[in-house]
Symmetry: C2
Subunit: 597 residues, 2 copies
């Protein structure tokens, strides 16, 4: 009797393992090198190893008493009490159950600048109501603040929902936060106002705590976008959202929960109460932006892929469920096109492309890759469906950039050497590792220009029915022919975008003075490897600049500066969007771009 | 062995009966003359006789399978399957379980007027998006409508949440509703826009369906305010709301549910879809206004009783859970004082008090009674805590004006004759009936000026330990000495308000040219009886005008006319609020006002 095996896919790390029916999900995860939290050591009592079953069947062992009815109804179970059934299972590990968090690029390198956000903080101690002075609380406060500031202000309705209680609890001595002529918060005098900037990536979400008075990033934190549980890519998620309003709301809530968990961490670490967060700027690609705002996405999935709205949105935190001051404004900058979102606008703003005098290209690599070229004061942009391969998806042993992921590969004297993140024992391969490996394969003559692994080469072996290269023997890690093809598609999509923008502007790659690689993946990859496999043209490495999370930086700048918001808004007028799929001979160009080297 | 008895109070009708432990709640209600719906005749199968247990204990008989877990958790049970336990029980009968609805004054007598609400309805068929014209949906629609109207418009965010889908479902051929420069709705071309006006009374809620293009009331419907389940008067309800945000939200939801049930009835009866309701005006007293808007009420219950906000509010229907178009504006007019709300503003507006050339007093009698006096172009107003006695509360056999309530009483030749609403067998006494009875008692010498029933009179008998008069022997109906005292307090509060406003203006009652009685109760009472017991000064009946629901009428007018909204807003500047409890010698004046005759 052979033991029945189940293929378990762990999300959001994106790692797959085969597990015996007799093993628990916790065991399987550990074998795959994923560190799920477990305090009781699998005894079913600590409740720390909660996971959600997304697809497939399981059987539960008694002892899961630490789960609520609500959790059970949502498919949540204890990894240590649950065993796989059937052939395949997809298990989502929520961030709080992960002992080691993913490597998330949140550093922001923000240069201190004098804020230009029209912020005024004034002491509020108006005359108390009496029978002779029966003004309502809103009028009393408004007139008092107006007399101090010497200008008219407005009180948002959301503030009024608690203002009367706040004033009386504080004995009518408080601190009024007026932002852009709007009384946003009434705080105890010792509490200062802060802002929230968020880069909502398809896969990762980065949040920044910003001091609105001093103009600097105080702290930052990142986590996996909770929507990942509904699909790796935005197309799958939009499909879910199109099913019903309720389903769309679930996706909205998943992202909102992720952001709120980051707010909670940042707030706790810096001793803030919810009311101190008085302003926010959120950026993301068009699909994520729409899903977050509760806007319809059906038309984003159909040609010609138009947004529901592209103008900047100013929402109220309380209305959209963001756990900051309910009266805080939440600003989402303008969108350039269906697949060029306000995250790209933020990145362009951070890199000041609107003012660049040279010829410069900015490329933000992600599940979707946006590219903008500025030449002779003109700008054009495009969007490439690069897919989630660089995040480790659809790669046999691919995974995200978490501890234990192989991130760099080198072949010397016929020996393959790998380094892994945090020097942890290798358990999978992340995007930068695959890129390095392919560049090395090419240089070693193991990989042909059209993308075939050379069966005659010593390092190429057979893994089942396909050719593969073993990177590591201890915990066997392979890159297969299929993996090569997946990466080929992804890098080809990006290269086609670069080539078409250059052609559209009538210039050659040599004429580009600077090539800016933005985004987490763009920071970790080796630009030489990227050029070697032909993902980018053969620019000398001096022309390639890796700038990290420019989108997050742009969001912070828009939080601190109204003139930056205006510049970001004006970007749209200068921009020429190029729809790649409609570009002449697109498919021939894509085919050529897919060649290696 | 004596059978155990339970005193059951049925809300919101406000009727009490004693029931055997062996009888069901349905039986007890029927014996009390309350018609609870029951299709299966008490078999526990039709699920029509749902009631909610507010206080006290019950035991349930099996068969209540038609109840959901959620309903059971809320204390909902089937009246036919449930029997009382203990000494006292309070049962709330939701409107949908009442076979006969309460007599609710909703007629509005609205005179057709040319609307002045800045409404434009235009055919919307813009050019479709193509690769050459990639404008987002919001911009495309806005520019198209602006080109037709020749003016700028704004698109509310709430509209955008479904606009893209609506346009594509309709094949881009729709009807755009632009209200006050705001694209509020996109409807199928054959569907016209309508508005909602609501008078949110403490006890009763009246809703009006208004044709915004033709300027007329199409239909109306009324029901009991669902908040009644949390207390008859606003003080009790505010106490509940002060407990917690969650509790306040329950009260908010209860009223919202009531309004939504009326919207549903009106919509179904007139073949409307939810999106056709594109505008709303809601009026109510300050407490109800605050509870509905989710504003804090704690400061309304503490001297000097100031509102959280008195300026007009413009909310969005979707944000507050009103079941009309989510992008529709919901207008709540300005408030005059803590206990003089926008319902009084609406009544004053409907009666055009702002333009009156004579000396006129408007009195809106309810659980709270608001009075305004206009004399020599000056206006002053006050608020009287008249209490819910006129609604039948705290009266031994009191009830609201439902079928079977005694509404008129006359004594001739020593014989008491009663008439009841809809000529149904008498089951209780409503406000106008009590008022008539007391006036008759006074005229017959059965009641003294200080308020004592004369034990020597033939018609006065002993009921238990107190004096009482039997109005009806078949189903015994009594008015007791305690009932007299309760009414005395209520009528005294109103009369004190009238007297103080007259004194404040330096005039006598003879100088009042018109006395306008507004509100449901004010319409049904006999003004002669009111003058007889001294609730109002001895004005000749020619000077007393009964105008019905002026507040509802004012709401309709504000829905149809922006200039009326402006006039209502300006009322506040002309108004002088008089706080009765702070008025010199208030308690002496109240004591005098409580005397009969």
């Amino acid at each position: 009797m052979t033991t029945k095996k189940t293929m378990i896919t762990f999300e959001p790390v994106g790692l797959r393992v085969e597990a015996d029916a007799g093993r628990t999900i916790l065991d399987a995860a550990r074998e795959a090198g994923i560190a799920i939290t477990s305090v009781c050591g699998g005894g079913g009592t600590c409740g720390k190893c909660k996971v959600r079953i997304m697809r497939g069947e399981v059987r539960e062992v008694s002892g899961a008493d630490c789960l609520s009815h609500e959790e059970k109804a949502q498919g949540i179970c204890l990894a240590c009490r649950t065993r796989p059934m059937g052939d395949a299972l997809t298990v989502y590990i929520p961030p709080e159950s992960l002992a080691v968090r993913q490597q998330l690029q949140v550093e922001c390198n923000h240069v201190l600048s004098a804020p230009d956000n029209d912020l005024h903080v004034v002491r509020l101690n108006p005359a108390l109501p009496t029978l002779e002075d029966l003004r309502d609380d809103a009028t009393r406060v408004r007139q008092h603040v107006e007399s101090i500031l010497g200008r008219e202000i407005v009180l948002p309705f959301a503030l009024l929902r608690n203002l009367s209680n706040e004033l009386r609890t504080a004995g009518w001595d408080t601190s009024a936060v007026v932002l852009r002529g709007r009384l946003t918060a009434v705080l105890p005098p010792e509490r200062r106002p802060f802002g929230l900037a968020v880069d909502m990536g398809t896969t990762k979400v980065a949040a920044y705590l910003v001091d609105l008075q001093e103009g600097r990033v105080v702290d930052s934190e990142g986590n996996v976008n909770g929507q990942t549980a509904y699909g790796e890519d935005v197309i799958t998620r939009m499909g879910h959202a199109n099913e019903s309003f309720a389903q769309a709301e679930k996706l909205r809530q998943a992202l909102c929960d992720t952001i709120n968990s980051l707010i909670k961490i940042l707030g706790a670490r810096n001793g803030l109460v919810q009311e101190q967060w008085v302003d926010a700027v959120l950026v993301g690609n068009t699909a994520i932006h729409h899903l977050f705002a509760g806007l319809p996405v059906r038309q984003l999935g159909m040609a010609p892929y138009v947004p529901a709205v592209s103008a900047p949105l100013v929402l109220e935190a309380g209305a959209i469920g963001l756990a900051i001051h309910p009266a805080a404004s939440v600003y989402l900058p303008s969108i350039l096109a269906g697949y060029v979102g306000c995250d790209h606008v933020a990145a362009l703003t951070a890199e000041k492309l609107y003012a660049a005098g040279d010829t410069v290209m900015l490329c933000d690599i992600g599940t979707n890759t946006e590219i903008t070229l500025r030449h002779n004061g003109q700008m054009c942009c495009c969007s490439c469906a690069s897919g989630p391969a660089f995040e480790g998806a659809h790669i046999r042993q691919g995974m995200r950039a978490s501890p234990g992921a192989v991130d760099h590969v080198i072949i010397r004297d016929g020996v393959i050497r790998c380094s892994s993140i945090e020097q942890a024992p290798p358990v999978g391969i992340c995007g930068s590792g695959v890129l390095d490996a392919l560049a090395q394969f090419l240089q070693q003559g193991m990989l042909t220009k059209p993308g075939g692994l050379d069966g005659a080469h010593d390092l190429v072996e057979m893994l089942g029915k396909e050719r593969a290269v073993c990177l590591n023997r201890d915990a066997p890690l392979f890159i297969t022919q299929s993996d090569v093809s997946v990466i080929q598609l992804a890098k080809g999509a990006i290269r086609a975008g670069i080539d078409i923008l250059l052609e559209h502007a009538g210039i050659t790659y040599q004429e580009v003075d600077r090539f800016i690689l933005a985004g987490a993946f763009g920071t970790y990859i080796d630009p030489v490897s990227a050029a070697t496999i032909g993902m980018i043209p053969p620019w000398p490495s001096t022309r390639v600049v890796q700038v990290g999370n420019a989108a997050g930086r742009g969001a912070v700048q828009m939080l601190l500066s109204d003139s930056t918001r205006l510049r970001a808004l004006n970007l749209g007028d200068q921009m020429n969007y190029v729809e790649l799929t409609a570009y002449p001979k697109f498919h021939q160009k894509l085919a050529r771009a897919m060649l290696f080297g």
